[in-house]
Assembly symmetry: D2
Homo-oligomer: 195 residues x 4
């Protein structure tokens, strides 16, 4: 499974050996099924911009994931993944935060399910700010304070903590997958930290 | 096709004779395919609460659709429908507004794609405020001022214009499909009109 | 000083013996000055609806203050108070949370300063949903999770924790000052908990 | 009256010859009174980023005001002004839009009074993103589509219509008063147009 941009390894935890076992959970999809559906329907994602905050709720640092692609290229990304059948938005958000930041990150999930932005990823670049050559995905994006220790799991190599100014820089935007530099800036704007 | 709650006849305009023609547009799904996918993935919807506003943007009336179900029961609903493959949120919203309110409604689509609420519909009642026995659907809901004349098409019998107080009443909520009374109240709260 | 509705005793902590001392801090106002300004300018307030949340950020309980008015009447209210000169919105919010809930409430201030609602209080009832016979006040309202122990200080007798359904009830709304029942419902709608 | 940054000539329409006439409307303030209050209380403002939108609500152009300061310097600004005593947020927004864009701009005021950002202006730069050497002002900022013809009145020389990319550029930000370049970017982020 040579998936690329949005969620580099999104379905492995939910679908171990997906193609070799009978699909007991109807929400699990084999690689073949998922590949086919990706040409037919917009898939629903959640994304999170992890942040550190001070005692007054002001964002002091922004967490960006560093990943290695299958071809060995380094790219930056956000916490991201699919919403599964039967799963609430919050459950999906929590699952992907734990998957990408480890079990000791202690994220404070938002009280409201209204995202700071709805990011629309199309296979063809240029339709919107965001692209994903695998699929049409619609992603609900949230700013999530984390209070614990982040230990990236799976293929994320590390979580890099940056100031708001660094995170919004052109240099970081250029390293981010699928146009997510714009999503980071939008996250910063939503918390009043975009210069 | 005996569909029920969310969007009573959602796919007819996009998928005429879906089961009898070759699927030229990969985003079109046959009834059988759609029925199967509905057991596997959350489907992405948009919903709109049509409103009339005064010159200062204050909501003066709320539009609620009156429909007849296949069994002849009267229910109330909102503008609602799926987001198709390749379609932006705004295109889907506009398409469903035109489908349900007619071509002369002249809706003013929001400048922001951030919804006032994300409504999660599960097949089993009780998981969230909203239910849909056909599927797991996640709906991005918007308040949309309309400035023209509404002539409901398809199976909607009429658009009933109500005051905010009427629209938020228990009587209207009891007639709405899938728990959408809560969505109307949330819409009213978002525009500062919920008592 | 027989103040009434919004914040029953808002300025005492900031302005001890306000009328008897020279105004060293230019942001401090004597009672006479404040009374006069209240007839000339809209005053800026912050309000908070304290909530308890579960591990996924879902609101499980809503905190409502019970107060005794100078005339001995029991009324319900929210955390509320003025923004002082030179103070940020967040500082004001934190100060009033501490004033009304005590120092061990450990509120989690929002990452965004965008309120869930802007409540406009006018001296004459009927202009908006909210009224305050002392003044024209504009209040930025936030939902704030608290994780510690609440010990109301000053004139608040207790914090009553209620379910979302109780907090949104007509009975509670009837006991709330200045129309704040509508603000509680709006808060609940913003976090997806209003039925 | 040598006012400078936020609203270059905010009170003239409301307070003609303010210092020479008896203050019949208690909401009117003489220059001396206003100057004094500005050292004592945060003043409430509204600001608007005027935009042109296409049929789907996508922002296509952003309107920025060009002004000449009393010293002859050219600066860029937004629609901005105080909320008066007894005036609703929407009335203030409409009044300042008409003042700055003329009577034929036909602005579409938002259905929700919740701003896309709360901008806090302090006399000392560095406390927040925004500064105003005259006062502590808290501004509720809105994106407002205009459908008519803009003819700036008073001291605004013209409305310059720009693309989102131009409006978000460092060059434009450098010409804007009080740090409002950040507010324009935040406005663009809120409508999904910030790259």
């Amino acid at each position: 499974m040579a998936v690329r941009t949005p969620d580099p390894d999104p379905d492995v935890p939910e679908e171990p050996n997906a193609s070799s076992r009978p699909s007991v959970n109807p929400g699990w999809l084999s690689d073949v099924e998922l590949a086919e559906i990706r040409q037919r329907l917009p898939l629903l994602y959640v994304e999170a911009v992890p942040v550190r905050v001070d005692g007054l709720g002001v964002v002091t640092e922004v967490g960006v994931l560093l990943r290695s692609t299958p071809t060995g290229q380094m790219t930056r990304s956000l916490v991201s993944g699919r919403v599964m059948y039967g799963e609430t938005i919050r459950e999906a958000l929590f699952r992907h935060l734990e998957k990408d930041l480890g079990p000791m990150a202690f994220p404070q999930l938002p009280t409201s399910a209204v995202p700071f932005q709805v990011a629309e990823y199309f296979p063809m670049p240029g339709v919107s700010l965001f692209s994903d050559d695998r699929q049409h995905a619609v992603s609900l994006a949230y700013v999530v304070p984390v209070t614990g220790t982040c230990e990236p799991r799976q293929d994320a190599l590390e979580v890099t903590w940056m100031t708001a100014v660094e995170a919004a820089s052109d240099a970081v935007a250029a390293e981010m997958e699928g146009g997510r530099g714009a999503l980071v800036r939008s996250a910063l704007a939503s918390v009043g930290c975009l210069h």
